[in-house]
């Protein structure tokens, strides 16, 4: 049995919200996924046992029976009798509770059902996002005086309907193609055929593309990830044009983002595996997603999966004012950790401090081991995030507490020297050398990562600063700025209008 539990807070008194939700036949007036609804046998909609028979905005018909309704606990429970999706034994409860502190309403929408083998996740998402969360948004809009969104103009119920399968035509789209490994001038604008999506694939129109230093390494050939005449670029956001056979959970018009190998993001249109995509919430715009996916997902797996940072931990972050560093600082602080960071200048120390690093150390002026000793009262830190490599590795080890964890996720200063691990028994330390691809290789991993990342982007816990925007055709200029260290924050490439 699978349970789905979603909840939100609505900024309106409980009686107001209950007035709308109590009518078992009223959901077609506010829920965007519902077409028309009627109660069978001409019963009032508050007769326990009554059946509502309704169409989905996307087509399809559902019958549900009211099992209980309570004006005392502001709740009702219903089950499915007939549906076009296999939600076996589906029973759902809507419950409101007053938030006395501020006169708002807590709204919980939960269910349990028995999914067919292998479809638990897809169906949970369908119910949790397309029905429950979409319902939350609709009620919020309704209370704000907005009318129900027309389902024709905004097909939100992507998995309720069968997604539009691609017509099979290839399309023409511009791309910055690598003519050879080398300087920025080796990227050239060319029109290319973009094939129709095959099984498991989707075709996207990019709206914003993230620029990362790894793109420079791909361009110069330092990393052998892209051979000419290939396309570089690791992350982008855009909308789905069409989907191939067997794609579940995405439909044309859906806004999505990705950050992953294989490279190929510096283009207008791209056909790629649907497994690599994350659906974007309305609150996150394309530019933010393109800027934040790669660094944000990196911070997620470093802080939650490579090592699980907890409240009260002390954490040392090297290059705290760097691209990934600022995400690590903000996120670790938000998890309740004490953050010590190394930076190269007073300016960067201030930047890191603004992003949650309580103890920035300018490593050229001060020994970070002293700060670690002072802050942790001699104990050492629980975890070190070290993307610097050769020049920091040994001292990172020294900074660790007993049973500490050294996470080496890069080597900007050169490769870490060979290690004799037997010496690590003096502190029982762990060392990890994580690789981005190994934490983002399945749809489930990407989803669990963005489930943590997106709420932080929405509520502002992770601040994203986009310092530069260049049109895609001027990707070479973007690279020049990046290599000349003239950029601040994130750099993105923009498209079209």
């Amino acid at each position: 049995m699978v349970r789905v539990r979603k909840s939100t807070v609505v900024n309106a008194p409980i009686d107001h919200v209950w007035d709308i939700l109590r009518d078992f036949n009223g959901h077609d007036r506010w829920h965007p996924a519902i077409g028309q609804s009627r109660i069978e046998d001409a019963l009032p909609s508050d007769v326990v046992g009554c059946v509502r028979d309704f169409t989905l905005a996307s087509g399809g018909r559902i019958r549900e029976q009211l099992l209980s309704l309570s004006d005392k606990t502001y709740s009702f429970t219903y089950c499915l009798l007939e549906a076009p999706v296999p939600l076996v034994n589906y029973v759902s409860t809507v419950r409101l509770k007053p938030v006395t502190d501020g006169n708002g309403t807590f709204w919980e929408w939960i269910c349990s059902f028995d999914p067919p083998a292998g479809r638990a996740e897809e169906l949970s998402r369908l119910v949790g996002e397309e029905i429950y969360e979409a319902g939350f948004r609709a009620i919020r809009d309704s209370l704000a005086g907005k009318r129900k969104r027309s389902s024709q103009s905004a097909p939100t119920s992507s998995t309720v309907s069968a997604p539009a399968i691609s017509s099979g035509q290839s399309m023409r789209g511009g791309a910055m193609v690598l003519t050879g490994h080398g300087g920025p001038e080796r990227m050239e604008w060319r029109e290319q055929n973009v094939p129709a999506p095959g099984p498991g694939q989707v075709r996207l129109r990019h709206n914003a593309i993230g620029v990362n230093y790894i793109d420079v390494y791909c361009r110069t050939g330092y990393y052998k990830l892209v051979e000419p005449p290939g396309i570089i670029g690791m992350e982008a956001a855009g909308s789905i044009l069409d989907v191939g056979a067997g794609v579940h959970g995405f439909a044309p018009g859906d806004r999505v983002a990705y950050a992953c190998p294989p490279p190929g993001a510096y283009c207008e249109l791209r056909t790629m595996s649907a497994d690599l995509l994350a659906l974007l919430p309305d609150e996150i715009d394309d530019a933010t997603a393109a800027a934040a996916m790669l660094k944000g997902v990196t911070a997620e797996f470093l802080l939650h999966r490579v090592h699980h940072v907890k409240e009260g931990d002390s954490v040392l972050i090297h290059a705290a004012a760097g691209g990934v560093g600022l995400y690590l600082c903000q996120w670790a602080r938000r998890l309740g950790a004490t953050v010590i960071g190394t930076v190269g200048s007073e300016e960067k120390a201030q930047l890191a401090r603004r992003y949650g690093c309580s103890y920035p150390v300018i490593y050229t002026q001060q020994d970070f081991l002293e700060t670690v000793r002072d802050v942790t009262e001699g104990r050492g830190v629980d975890v070190v995030y070290d993307g610097i490599g050769a020049s920091t590795f040994e001292k990172s080890y020294e900074a660790l507490a007993l049973r500490g964890h050294l996470v080496s996720y890069g080597q900007a200063s050169g490769s870490v020297p060979a290690i004799d691990i037997s010496s690590y028994s003096s502190k029982s330390v762990s060392v990890s050398r994580p690789n981005y691809a190994h934490y983002t290789s399945t749809a489930e991993e990407i989803r669990s990562s963005t489930d943590r990342l997106f709420p932080l982007l929405i509520n502002g816990d992770l601040k994203v600063e986009i310092g530069q925007r260049f049109p895609l055709r001027q990707a070479g200029e973007a690279h020049k700025a990046l290599e000349a260290r003239q950029t601040t924050g994130s750099t993105i490439l923009t498209l079209g209008e």
């Binding site: 979603k6 909840s7 939100t8 007053p98 938030v99 502190d101 807590f106 969360e133 309740g336």
Partner: protein, 146 residues
């Protein structure tokens, strides 16, 4: 029987808030009205039936018995054994529910008790606003900059 219900939204994930309030002996760590607390007979603070004996900053002493604790429901129920408030049959429950939208917490603190009729309003206000809302305000401040 007087019933008091206070609820609030705390801007931190439920498991984080729970990690602070779960400790039946931990009130002085987060509730501004509590000076110090100990568990009688040296019991662990998550042993059902244990008694916390704590003093208020204004000097009063209260003994409360842990009736139920659930890491599954994120809830804690307790009764008052002795207090200067003049209530009888006092049972209270503090419960968290995750708000999945935004990864926040919905916190509820409710109590039922008996007291002389002329003191109902005063005591309902003391419990609901002073104790419960006061605790929520401290939690909201603690997690405000999360």
């Amino acid at each position: 029987m007087v019933k008091v219900y206070t609820s609030s939204i705390i801007d931190a994930p439920a498991e984080r808030v729970w990690s602070v309030i779960r400790d039946f002996n931990g009130l002085p760590n987060w509730h501004p009205a509590i000076a110090e607390s100990r568990i009688e007979q040296n019991h662990p603070s998550d042993k059902i039936g244990c008694v916390r004996n704590f003093s208020l900053k204004d000097g009063g002493r209260i003994r409360e018995c842990l009736l139920a604790l659930s890491d599954y429901d994120l809830s804690c129920t307790y009764s008052i054994l002795e207090s200067p408030m003049g209530v009888t049959d006092y049972v209270a429950t503090l419960k968290l529910t995750p708000v999945t939208d935004g990864d926040r917490s919905f916190a509820e603190w409710s109590a039922e008790f008996d007291c002389p009729p002329e003191r109902e309003r005063e005591l309902a206000d003391l419990v609901g606003q002073g104790v419960f809302q006061g605790g929520f305000d401290a939690l909201k401040e603690r997690f405000g900059g999360r």
